[in-house]
Symmetry: C2
Subunit: 582 residues, 2 copies
């Protein structure tokens, strides 16, 4: 059963809210299908901060062109061509099959950017204004994006031309035109968090470059903007380090490797999508693979991690890796790991044990010593270090002030970190570890990075959050179905709805802001819901519809996003049916 | 762990066969890795009919160009660019990172085709000769493909430039060059069967066009050459039929549909890869969805399949569908289904029951009547009809002589069909139904289309075989991991090996021919094994290595092929590890 239209009980809003929540009707009953109603409202995913709309439908020319000063940017031009290919997947290639060439309402997209800079760092301005105007006496209909940076223009493009069946801009199977509905449109939007990440693990399974690129491309659809690349771990070292060329002897095979050129390609591909790449070299634990090429890095041949803290060589190698990587990864953050450090191989290996004694260090002191030394190397290279939360939990006063604490063990850590003045990234494993297959989308969705943090000055220190795709059981065959659709539930999946006034405006009820009240009805917004509304049932059902819609959009673009309604991640659809109800 | 080099016991062949079977060494032991030996022999997948090789390594210029009369063909040029992109995924884009530009041995690929025709029908000549020659006094090193048709040239390209880590042509991570090994090479090859199919079901789940194209692309890697498109079924009717435009009201939703343009795109995309598209319109069963747009096609509103045999309208609609489809699908075969026909709705619906009585037909007679009438429509459109085996099992003498019988229920059907002079396609569900997840690759591999058929004249009537990807639990999220790698075990996965004589030739021991004897040792070949050799163990282990290798190749090209060693299909890797051993 697929009734997707939820009436809201408040009588003054029923007529209008029915507009919002009606998507379409499908039925899975065997052989019986309910006729599909007209789509009544743009079903934009995600819903922007502010929008207003009208009532006209405009057609979009498949040959539509790019104009405005944004066209001078290769990043904008490249994105325009990508999205044009997505929207017009049928192209105009078979226009010979039509007898008349239609006249189109909109023939160009004008993009204006206020800054030519294409520097991509934390906090880059990603805001945009998207406008669809109807024809008037002075000019024809128009579609424009205005942004402060080229990266804001990219976010606008994702919104403007999302897909052949977006309700803003959709392919009409009757007229075979791409149509823009409810014109005129005006959308003003910006992200809530500057850091919206996905972590990939290429050590437990090598991910071919083409697969990493497929994943980066799909990130851009959900406006994720940081790829945290956990490159190396215990099981394999797949990365080329020219300064220490034997390191990648620790790769699984001769071919499960990334060259310098591969890494540049990944960084460049990401930048074209407004995505930063934060590399991670996890030390001193999770590093057994380093010793395949350089056995001296092991405390002993039979005790192979953490890295041998007692040797200068260990830090020479680490410094060499970071020196080589500084030429590749321009992002201001560099992740140094520091999680799950079992120091037994230090205390149990006699040479290392002696060194500890000589330095008058406990094993825990040595852990701190290692992390701080590593941080200093990164800092000299003008990086801010990111470390997993154990470092903060164990020696908070010893971490460099520029440290970004990466929470993962559970909730309640970011509040402590920001209270001590550290920046924080939220990845509570109970909600945002994608390798935990029994965490359904509702739990992912409900996780709140600012939970327990009330002061505005402290909230600012939460850079954002990240979903983590650990690779023990995720390889090329199943990784995209494990990442999606749940990553969308964290990334950019909104449940917002609100009353539309006579002037067509919804005030303060977009999804990248706090919850809002209109007519005394509290509307839930992304990850800042009043518990009351979350358990009301309505928000949940609408959230489900929107996530199913977004999942179908991903499928439509060739991304293997799994069915939404299965409890466990990456499980097959239970039987035949429409994408929109599975 | 992970020893992939299997010595053959026969002493005269040990030295040589060690060359063949040594791939590489990997270990999954925690933190311990065995050093990797040199690769010793090209590990071509699949092994061609005849090949000889030498001992030199040649470098291939990333800017290498296409020459020869084959360059006049858009199909050849398009394929050349595709494969060039695959082989040189790193491109020459970052050559600025190297201080010296290398001198390359091979700078062009010469393709010669003897016929300019690009007609693609059953039995098109797909043979090719691939030659890598070393430099001599008269000329430099060269790489050439010679074929009778452009489609043979495509097969040669797949062989010549398979991948960055093919052992014929591989990316060397030390020199960062693409190298061709064991030159000079000479390969002469042709397929064993003219029909090598994959069936897709777009009715149980809609597959977006981009996903169908991804699948077609992956088919070409395994040299599959027929896409059997099972478009419509009980649950949904997703296809545009201009003559009867309400038919696609039976689609799951407004967007889970294929336009005429989509269909043309799929046919064209396939042709560029030498793949024919055989459409299926399954009648009279499996057709409940037709009635959503035209309820008269149902025997009654409460009994909605098979299609109402008593009405002229039913055959008008069928004729309209085939008329519209004839403009789209040029392949000489058209599939009319005819499987699993439960005639209860005919006998239990009074109007139909009366019609049967008037015509003096039993329900089974009416089934035959329907199928034959449908066949006649197809025949008038110059198609040869293909029908599922129940039609042959039920009324063999009434099928048109041009009928191709599509076996699926079990083994032993093609022998009967060819004995009666019918052509046959093998899809024994016990081995080649990919939706049967508990059929491991060994069983897929062991299935033999010519089993039980001994006369050469009858063997010729077996067009080939097809793996079937029914869609009940396969959608965009999991379809490629369900198809691969098992489809390769049917398609083009060989276990051949043989003695290499002093002149470097292996006679008659390629994989697209019958088993062969050399020195009284019987070498297994693809799907024609003597049972003795199959159970010997050796063939199995080498087959496993080769399938793992091919699976990694697929992953490397972005195809989500599942781990080989899991018993059930489409299951996750059990833990961290190399692609080559999972």
């Amino acid at each position: 059963m697929g009734l997707l239209c939820i009436p809201i009980i408040l009588s003054r809003v029923v007529p209008t809210l029915l507009l919002i929540c009606c998507g379409f009707f499908v039925s899975q009953a065997r052989g019986v299908r309910t006729p599909q109603p007209e789509r009544s409202l743009p079903f934009i995913w995600p819903l922007p901060k502010q929008f207003s709309f009208g009532n006209e439908t405009l057609s979009l020319d498949p040959a539509f062109s790019l104009s405005g000063n944004g066209a001078a940017s290769p990043i904008v031009r490249d994105a325009f061509e990508r999205y044009k290919g997505i929207v017009f997947k049928n192209g105009d290639r078979f226009s010979f099959l039509r007898t008349l060439r239609p006249v189109y309402d909109i023939t160009k997209l004008s993009i204006t950017v206020h800054s030519k800079s294409d520097e991509l760092q934390l906090g880059v301005d990603e805001s945009y204004i998207l406008t669809v105007s109807t024809a008037n006496l002075l000019s024809g209909a128009g579609l424009t994006i205005e942004a402060n940076t080229v990266f804001g223009a990219l976010r606008g493009l994702e919104e403007a031309l999302p897909h052949t069946f977006s309700q803003l801009c959709s392919f009409d199977y009757t007229t075979k035109n791409v149509q823009i509905h409810k014109a005129p449109w005006s959308i003003r939007d910006k992200p809530r968090f500057q850091y919206r990440g996905l972590m990939l693990d290429t050590a437990r399974h090598y991910l071919p470059v083409i697969v990493i690129k497929q994943i980066i491309e799909s990130m851009s659809y959900a406006k994720l903007n940081v790829l945290h690349w956990h490159i190396i771990d215990e099981q394999s070292f797949p990365f080329e380090v020219p300064t220490y060329p034997n390191l990648w002897k620790g790769s699984y095979s001769n071919w499960e490797r990334y060259t310098i050129e591969d890494a540049h390609e990944i960084v460049n591909f990401s930048k074209m999508r407004g995505i930063n790449v934060m590399a991670e070299v996890d030390v001193p634990g999770h590093a057994a693979s380093w010793g395949v090429g350089y056995p001296d890095l092991w405390p002993s041949p039979s005790c192979n991690q953490p890295l041998d803290v007692s040797k200068k060589f260990t830090f020479d190698v680490l410094s060499g890796i970071l020196t080589d990587m500084r030429k590749i990864f321009p992002f201001e953050l560099f992740h140094l790991g520091g999680d799950e450090v079992n120091t037994d191989c230090w205390t149990n290996t006699s040479a290392v044990h002696k060194w500890l004694q000589k330095k008058n260090m406990t094993a825990e002191d040595a852990y701190e010593y290692f992390v701080v030394k590593a941080q200093n190397i990164a800092l000299t290279k003008n990086w801010s270090p990111v470390n997993w939360e154990e470092t903060f939990n164990t020696f908070p006063t010893k971490l460099h002030p520029q440290t970004v604490v990466h929470n993962w063990l559970g909730p309640g850590v970011c509040p402590k970190a920001v209270a001590k003045g550290f920046r924080c990234i939220f990845s509570n494993q109970g909600a945002w570890y994608l390798d935990h297959l029994n965490v359904p989308w509702e739990v992912v969705y409900a996780a709140e990075p600012l939970e327990g943090i009330h002061k505005a000055s402290e909230q600012k220190l939460v850079l954002g959050g990240e979903v983590c795709m650990w690779g023990e059981t995720a390889d090329t065959s199943d990784i995209q179905q494990t990442i999606w659709p749940r990553a969308a539930a964290a990334a950019g999946f909104r449940v917002c709805y609100g009353k539309i006034g006579k002037d067509g405006r919804i005030e303060k009820c977009g999804c990248w802001i706090r919850s809002c009240k209109i007519n005394n009805y509290l509307f839930p917004t992304e990850r800042l819901w009043s518990p009351r509304d979350y358990t009301s049932g309505h928000a949940s059902e609408i959230a489900l519809q929107r996530l199913q819609y977004f999942r179908c959009l991903l499928n439509r673009r060739g991304v293997a996003a799994a069915p939404v309604t299965n409890y466990n991640a990456r499980t097959a659809p239970i039987g035949p049916g429409s994408c929109f109800v599975q």
